[in-house]
Amino acid sequence: MKVKLTLEGIAKKLGDFSLKEISLEVKPGEYFVILGPSGAGKTVLLEILAGIYPPDQGKIWLGERDITHWPPEKRRFGFVYQDHALFPHPTVEGNIRFGLRDSRLNPLQRKQEIRETADLLGIAHLLSRQPHTLSGGESQRVALARALITRPPVLLLDEPLSSLDPPTREILQQELKRLHLIFGSIFIHVTHDFEEAFFLGERIGVLMGGN
């Protein structure tokens, strides 16, 4: 599904912090990077986009549909956090399968889908492992596979590379570019790293102090 994502005057107040009238248009299939220092409101903005928090004002459009009041389970945007937030109780395969729970695929097709996504991310050999036995880079690949297997129209990446060592970060930057080409969804990536932003972003937005 190739559609644009539009934010119209999104504002949100959370305690002392406030996000002030953010307007933005992300083109279909674009890799958009939001650059800003810590505490600028990047994660809050992503969580509003995912539907976790409703905005106090403003509207969010996915193509021609107003999705401002849609809950996260209806939006089905992929979300990858900085520290991966893998579910610790299922295996890697269980984590990836999580999003396919209500899909119309039969068990065999599901298995095939998991295998294909795992191959794409280079984690097929990790499927039976428990998440706490994985390295940072492997965990991030699993988190990406879990988010991408549902073919989300928008993938939200919250500083996905910042907890990784420089060599792994470089490899995963290349991977993200490749995955973006393969899936063709909108990728919205927030970071505080200039180099990462310039390497990955087709366009870059700057967020500072909620502006």
């Binding site: 976790i52 089905r76 579910f87 610790p88 428990q130 706490h132 879990r146 549902t150």
Partner: protein
Amino acid sequence: MITVLQAAIEGVDVRMEYVARTLGCSPFQAFCRVTLPLIRNQILAGLILTWGKALGEFGAVLMLAGATRFRTETLPIAIFLNMSTGDMEALMVSATILILIAFITLGAFERLGIKMYQRAPGL
């Protein structure tokens, strides 16, 4: 039990539920599929603590129901009555049953609980 559960739920990273919701779960489904399995040990511990407290309760039973044989005779009351009447055989049996229940409960907890190595660090 409520305090144990409240602390356990607060200890689970809420972002895991957020991720579950972006993967299609309603808030209730996210709680059942993500939070509940993670607090399984605390639920078991809370249940066992509550049950153990109820099983060993003596004062409240004595105050509210009295100590009448075959009518309000819980295990601690039975031990008390047997000791009062000097029936050492029955006393030993009651005490042994109570000890056995304690061991069986601990064994069940060990089997049903999540082992340390299955848990992610920090959880």
